[in-house]
């Protein structure tokens, strides 16, 4: 009986409505550490106008934010701070890796740099580029919206995927 009800008409419509509401009211926490911040500001301001996607109000408290934008290179010294910010955000929450440094470490291959923030936290959308164009950011934002729209039925987000074996740099 529970299996029959789980896909019933009313539940799916409610979840769809919730997902629709959530994806157009993204409160972002911009964790800006480096030069990508300039491109983030360009995207957020009126010329590209991230508010068209309902993401116009950055919240500078992780407890009020839905999406963590990690914008710029993350060093090993900074990594525990970033992890703590992520832990402080309330569910449901999403993470966007903005710029190639946050995706993979970028061209930094040294003692100081975290080789991609997905080594310390789950990431939903990767926006590569050094820095990414505002169009790429908006594309990533729309992909995130699709994810938010679809993810509602799963409840809590699944655990991050383990890195493949033999991935050592």
């Amino acid at each position: 009986m529970a299996d029959l009800l789980s896909d019933s008409f009313l539940t799916s419509r409610l979840d769809a409505a919730l997902g629709w509401a959530r994806k157009f009211s993204i409160f972002q926490y911009p964790f800006v550490t480096a030069c990508c911040g300039m491109e983030y500001m360009a995207t957020a301001c009126s010329h590209y106008d991230v508010d068209r996607f309902g993401a116009g109000l950055p919240r500078f408290s992780p407890r009020q934010a839905d999406v963590l934008f990690v914008v710029g290179t993350i060093s090993h010294k900074m990594a525990p701070v970033l992890k703590r910010i992520h832990d402080q955000m309330a569910e449901p929450k999403w993470v966007v890796a903005f710029g190639v440094c946050t995706c993979t470490g970028g061209f930094y291959d040294n003692y100081a740099t975290v080789m991609g923030i997905d080594t310390i936290m789950p990431v939903d959308v990767y926006i590569p580029g050094c820095p990414p164009r505002p169009e790429m950011v908006l594309d990533g934002l729309m992909k995130l919206q699709n994810k938010i729209q679809d993810q509602h039925t799963h409840g809590r987000r699944p655990a991050p995927e383990a890195r493949p074996a033999g991935f050592d740099v």
Binding site: A79, N110, Y111, V114, M115, R163, V169
Partner: protein, 193 residues
């Protein structure tokens, strides 16, 4: 005052301390014995003809890999000159590392009063990688010396607070030493990747 007199001033006052000197396009450099650093620095700051009241930079060089590999191919093929143009005479050129010592600590001084600059190079051996601190003369030397300690592992006698400044205290080793593995990472959280 002509620039060439700066080297002469230092060499005339401290003939035993000066190991070498050279000039490049009017920028002068004096290589010093480590034990005379503090006396020379005080002279640079307090002598009325010098008045070096601004310590612009303080850094170090690890010469342990110097000359052991050829210049990167990029520079050879890019058309960027890797050596000074021969058209402009260089009367007192650089003759390579100041000594056989592994490290050299480099000080850049500027006089806001006289508008002249002088670079001091102090070679020190790895076994006794310790120098006198200049914090008693230039308070700004404090953080720069902490950076040199952090990156190169060179200690400074008399520094009030010689801690790491860029890396975290759990970090082991000194990353700008040439024998620090280029890919070695010491993450605080997450995998060693």
């Amino acid at each position: 005052m002509t620039n060439s007199s700066l080297i002469e001033l230092v060499a005339g006052r401290f003939p035993q301390a000066v190991l070498a000197s050279h000039t490049y396009r009017g920028d002068e450099t004096v290589a010093l014995r480590p034990d005379s650093l503090l006396a020379v620095a005080r002279f640079l700051k307090e002598d009325p003809a010098l008045r070096m009241n601004f310590l612009m930079d303080l850094t170090a060089v690890d010469y342990s890999a110097f000359g052991k590999s050829p210049a990167p191919a990029f520079f050879a093929s890019s058309g960027v000159a890797v050596s000074p143009s021969a058209e402009i005479p260089d009367e007192n050129p650089w003759r390579g590392p100041p000594s056989k010592a592994r490290f050299a600590v480099v000080y850049h001084f500027f006089s806001l009063e006289h508008k002249h600059r002088l670079r001091l190079v102090v070679p020190i051996e790895e076994a006794c990688a310790e120098l006198d601190s200049l914090t008693s003369l230039w308070a700004g030397a404090g953080w720069l010396e902490r950076e040199v300690w952090d990156m190169f592992g060179i200690r400074f006698r008399g520094h009030p607070d010689l801690r790491r400044i860029l890396m975290y205290k759990e970090f082991e080793g000194h990353p700008l030493r040439k024998d620090y593995p280029v890919n070695k990472r010491q993450p605080l959280i997450g995998p060693v990747n």
